[in-house]
Each structure stands twice: as structure tokens, then as C-alpha cells.
């Protein structure tokens, strides 16, 4: 990873990767949506409402994955002083926040017809809402603190400390009595979900992952540009 510590090298790599990642994301979305809306059968209990799962579950997985990546990047910035690690975590935050928001909204749209309520203060839903607040808090730190070194330090603490919520979200359905269904894909003993539903779910998850990769590359490029602007502005001030 250290060889990509050089922003110029990273930008070159990002430029080469962007087009293939976007093309792969578009193909995965097209295939995933076709399978989710056309070939996947309705559920014997939930009927057509089960199709919400194909946008809800990948968004929730990505919200957890992105926060984990942010915590790892923050730890890497603190331990190895990797110059791009803070930028990667900062760039990933709005993307993860949007995935988390979409998981909450689509979950609510599933909850109303299935549970009869838009929202319940259930362990899974509440811990997911806390994850959304952690994303907002992390982004607020970067916005509120002008000195980038101080902001990076506090943002790292928020990302690393907030990571404790990730296993709480994942295992909330096992640790507490929950209305939310338990794990049916990533569980000991293999998935319990029918293959005709599993494949569209996995392909949609791949599409979300590729979209994240494409957006992260652009957002990191923006962070590098933003840092360059700050340096140029400071140099301009010093030169006066």
C-alpha cells in the first residue's frame, strides 16, 4: 500500500481504473435489476414486497463495509502515517452515509406493509440509525474544524471508536429479540435463501460495491485537488 502513498501515482492508477470500474458497475446494475425485477420469483409469504430486499440489503451491507473501511483507513493513518489514508476515509464518508440512509429508507418502505409500521425502535434498526449518526458526526468533524491536521486526528478517533457499532449492527438480531429477520446469507452453515433470490442479491451487491469503488476514486481525486488548492492558496498568501 505504501507505493500508492504518492498522490501522483495514485491519480495515475485511479485514471486507469475509472473507466473499467464504471463499465463493470453499469453491467452489474443492468443484470442485477433485470434479475431482481423480472426473473426472481415473489416470496411465498412476502409476495412482491420481497423485491425491496434487492436494494435494501446491498445498501445495508455497503453501509457496514464502508464504515469498516473508514475505521481501517483511520487506523492505518494513525499507525503507519499513510498520507492517503485520511483522505480515503474522508472521501468514503458521504458515500457510506448515503448507503446507510438508503438502507433506512428502503427498510422503512418494507416495514410498513410487512410489520404495519414505518419504524420501530428495534435493536437492528436503532443500531443502524446510530451508524447513520456516526457518519454524520464524522463528516461534521471535517466541516467544523478548520485545521486539517486537528480535524484528521479527531475524525480518526470518531471512526475508530464508532467501529464498535458495526458488530452491534451485525449481531443485534442474535443478541436481542428483534423484529428484523436474522442473517440468511452470511451465516454459519451457508445461505438459507433460495438460489433464484440469492443470485440477484449478490449481483446487486456487486453493483453497489463497484459504484462505491468508482465514486471513491473520484472523491479521493477531489480530496487531493482540494489539498493542492489549500497549498496554492497558502503559498499565494505567503508570496504577498
Amino acid at each position: 500500500m505504501q507505493q500508492f502513498a504518492n498522490p501522483a501515482r495514485f491519480l495515475k492508477l485511479a485514471q486507469a481504473l475509472l473507466l473499467p470500474v464504471w463499465v463493470a458497475a453499469l453491467v452489474a446494475f443492468a443484470a442485477g435489476l433485470y434479475m431482481a425485477l423480472v426473473t426472481a420469483p415473489p416470496d411465498y409469504q412476502q409476495g412482491e414486497t420481497v423485491r425491496i430486499m434487492f436494494v435494501h440489503v446491498p445498501a445495508a451491507w455497503m453501509a457496514l463495509m464502508v464504515y469498516t473501511a473508514m475505521a481501517l483507513a483511520s487506523a492505518s493513518a494513525a499507525i503507519f502515517r499513510h498520507p492517503l489514508a485520511d483522505m480515503a476515509a474522508k472521501a468514503a464518508a458521504p458515500i457510506g452515509a448515503m448507503f446507510c440512509f438508503l438502507a433506512l429508507v428502503t427498510g422503512s418502505l418494507w416495514g410498513k406493509p410487512m410489520w404495519g409500521a414505518w419504524w420501530v425502535w428495534d435493536a437492528r434498526l436503532t443500531s443502524m440509525f446510530v451508524l447513520f449518526l456516526l457518519y454524520l458526526g464524522y463528516m461534521a468533524v471535517w466541516q467544523a474544524i478548520e485545521d486539517p491536521h486537528r480535524a484528521a486526528l479527531i475524525a480518526r478517533i470518531v471512526a475508530i471508536a464508532g467501529f464498535i457499532n458495526v458488530p452491534i449492527v451485525k449481531f443485534s438480531v442474535d443478541w436481542w429479540n428483534s423484529l428484523h429477520q436474522g442473517a440468511s446469507v452470511f451465516r454459519m452453515g451457508g445461505p438459507t435463501i433460495d438460489e433464484r433470490m440469492l443470485w440477484p442479491l449478490l449481483i446487486m451487491a456487486l453493483a453497489y460495491m463497484l459504484l462505491f469503488a468508482g465514486l471513491l476514486l473520484i472523491a479521493m481525486r477531489s480530496e487531493i485537488t482540494s489539498r493542492k488548492i489549500r497549498q496554492l492558496q497558502l503559498a499565494g498568501l505567503a508570496g504577498r
Binding site: 409476495g47 425491496i52 458521504p94 429508507v105 473520484i218 477531489s222 485537488t225
Partner: protein, 52 residues
């Protein structure tokens, strides 16, 4: 998908919300990148003008 099935409006709303959310995110990131690129080239031009 059976468009006459019960609760199908919730399914459509979930897909529309996801599309709108992801499209807004893509637009935000692309527009911010473009704005910053423009800013940096303006600053670079200013710097070159001063040194040239």
C-alpha cells in the same frame, strides 16, 4: 413482477428512492470534482502568470 399485486407501490417507491439517492450522490461527487479542478487550474494559471 406483478404490477397488480398488493403493496407493489412500496416496491416501486423503494427502487425510485434508491435510484434518486444514488443519482444525487453521483452528481454531488462529479460536480464537486469538476468545481475543484476548475479552481486548481485557475490558481495554477494565476501562479504561472505571477512567475512568468
Amino acid at each position: 413482477m406483478d404490477l397488480n399485486a398488493a403493496h407493489v407501490a412500496f416496491v416501486i417507491a423503494a427502487y425510485l428512492a434508491s435510484f434518486a439517492g444514488l443519482a444525487a450522490l453521483v452528481l454531488y461527487i462529479l460536480l464537486r470534482d469538476r468545481k475543484l479542478k476548475r479552481q486548481v487550474s485557475a490558481l495554477d494559471a494565476k501562479k504561472d502568470g505571477r512567475h512568468g
